[in-house]
Symmetry: C2
Subunit: 383 residues, 2 copies
């Protein structure tokens, strides 16, 4: 519904979402090359792009494997031919009928559990479906969210036993969410090793009790780019690496000019005495994500580039309302406000690609310095 | 696309958006009664709900008047019969062809300008269209964003003259955006009076120069609820009053139990030693808006209620990731974590209704304490 079929960045209706295919392909190649060298497979997280066309570029085969964050994603990607997916959010019992229905259509959709109640509901749903639903046990490698604490072997084994008896115990999974806080390459290597160790140890506990554990799954974009050794791990999940963003640049996982996603905006006015340029891109198009606010360099609501994608150093979207953005020099920096007239266009690099992309209905695909739109990729939302 | 046709809050797929029609109708009646007493008309801002069904409840007639924040809204509401709209974001010259096209279909769509370049582009587009496009001049009543500074009579008159000569000068408009920061009833009365004075004075300057100024438009939800006198004002725009939210409750414009909007979520796990309950409602369903973070009571990403809408005092969504929410007791409060099992449902009151609603494709309408869904109202996004 949000697609723009005009064909250059000078003619598209603004605000709209732009992806530089050249940068995106470079980002994908970088991670694939890295994981190939480590001998593990990539199970990309499709929650970042939520686009069939982007998924086809990032998956290693057109059937998967893939990771999703909603059953809507699972259904949309299944309709596009993807057959092997993990729904990587702890399953709500009420969602299991929908999972069973997809599995009955031949989709190998796996679910995730970190408690016995969930495992029992998966077993019960398997019984109703007449088919064992495969589940991974989530391990909490860094205390940031959900998952079985690594030391809680009793809970791990209890979940494993319930799943093995009444459903299918497919393996273990973890996500080093704390790695997004940064800390430099050595910290990232430690996060990656903690992530690896948490699931490899859990797999050993399960196997030691005679339980199966074929899949040992880790993943986050920062750790995927810093792991030195993934012995015992079978696959890596990562999502935001496909586009990257200012949060990832801020913690050194990419450079600013690796960021493939931007929001195209038009200048609608000035408050010259305040050093403000007003655009038609507010939080509705940028998202309210302030992920760089805790980083050493706070990028406001995004970093401003010209329409060709050249960064205006230290010029940011300093404030937003729903459909207005205020461009200003980053406080405390030596940036200079560019000369931009009403009607001129800019591109804004996002703090958080997943959040910014979610505000839009389509990607307008360009390549490198070209302003021509070579494709429009629809994206979907919802659950 | 996101509609859920199951019929109670116990059976809907989660996360999803819920509106309590009883509270919504009460909120609408409250503002209408107030503005009737002040003798001004309501031009509701439809950017909050972006729903034809909600618009029909909030507008005083099915043809308008109304305010919109995007041309997409203008087109969608025009298709539903709305004939009188202000597109209340400073116009980008490239959008004028689309405006002229809507006007040619009989929609009285007005645009907004705060600089001469915009006024000249409106005059040029009027010439191309063979029909004068009506525009309002935006006045900056509180320095928070765009608009002509009230003291800059030269700029005001120059814009007015360009519009009157080549387009149609329809009037003046302002928005007291700073009123969202709060300050108590007396501060709000002052914001309301400053908002009134800024446009009434501007209208006088224009009329004194022999220019027309039929429309004198003010509006923000806080000032609309506190203005004591609106002499000289012809209409009030307000948006979030229809649903209200925690930001509005935090500055005393409504009570928490006036908030008509919530997100329905399901418990998927616990980290009991940390005092956390994990749900399937993360920032994708709540938005990343942290509007209460600057208020005396920081509500995190939302205030938690049971499925019937009864508030768990001081129990908030303390943190989120894309599809996970962490419920915890508000730091420093005397709240107590409720006993909730995996599969139980909660409702989460949002910080910012406009931002949270924007994450969803439909409203599930309930009434008061009932769990039955009496209607599903689609909502749209995009530009």
């Amino acid at each position: 519904m949000n697609a723009n079929f005009a064909n250059t960045l000078e003619t598209l209706e603004t605000p709209c979402l732009v992806v530089d295919a050249e940068r995106m392909e470079r980002n994908i190649t970088r991670l694939r090359t890295r994981l190939d060298a480590l001998g593990v497979s990539l199970r990309p997280h499709l929650k970042t792009a939520k686009s069939v066309e982007a998924a086809r570029k990032v998956m290693t085969t057109q059937q998967g494997p893939a990771t999703v964050s909603t059953l809507k994603e699972a259904e949309q990607f299944a309709a596009a031919g993807v057959r092997d997916m993990i729904y990587a959010v702890g399953i709500a019992p009420d969602k299991l009928a929908r999972v069973a229905e997809m599995r009955a259509r031949g989709i190998d959709l796996m679910v995730v559990a970190d408690n016995v109640e969930q495992a029992e509901s998966i077993a019960a749903a398997s019984k109703v479906a007449g088919s064992r639903i495969p589940a991974l046990i989530e391990i909490d490698c860094d205390g940031h969210r959900s998952g079985v604490p690594p030391q809680d072997h009793a809970r791990l084994l209890q979940i494993g036993q319930v799943l093995a008896a009444g459903a299918e115990l497919r393996g273990v999974l973890t996500h080093a969410g704390d790695s997004y806080r940064g800390g430099g390459p050595e910290a990232q290597e430690r996060f990656a090793e903690a992530e690896r160790k948490a699931v490899v140890d859990a797999a050993q506990v399960l196997r030691g009790a005679g339980l199966p554990c074929p899949v040992v799954s880790v993943g986050s974009t920062p750790t995927a780019h810093h792991a030195k050794d993934l012995t015992g791990v079978t696959e890596v999940r990562a999502g935001v690496f496909v586009f990257f963003d200012l949060v990832m640049a801020g913690i050194g996982i990419c450079r600013v000019d690796d960021i493939a996603l931007s929001v195209l905006a038009t200048v609608i006015g000035h408050q010259r005495e305040k050093g403000w340029i007003i655009t038609d891109s507010g939080w509705m198009s940028l998202s309210r994500d302030r992920g760089t606010s805790k980083q050493p360099v706070d990028m406001g609501f995004g970093l401003v580039c010209d329409v060709n994608g050249n960064v205006f150093n230290n010029v940011i979207v300093a404030d937003v309302s729903q459909e207005h953005g205020i461009i200003a020099v980053r406080p405390g920096s030596n940036g200079r406000l560019p000369e931009l007239a009403v009607g001129d266009r800019v591109r804004i690099l996002p703090n958080h690609a997943c959040a910014t992309a979610a505000q839009h209905g389509a990607y307008h695909v360009v390549r490198g310095a070209s302003l021509d739109v070579e494709a429009v990729w629809p994206r979907f939302g919802g659950w």
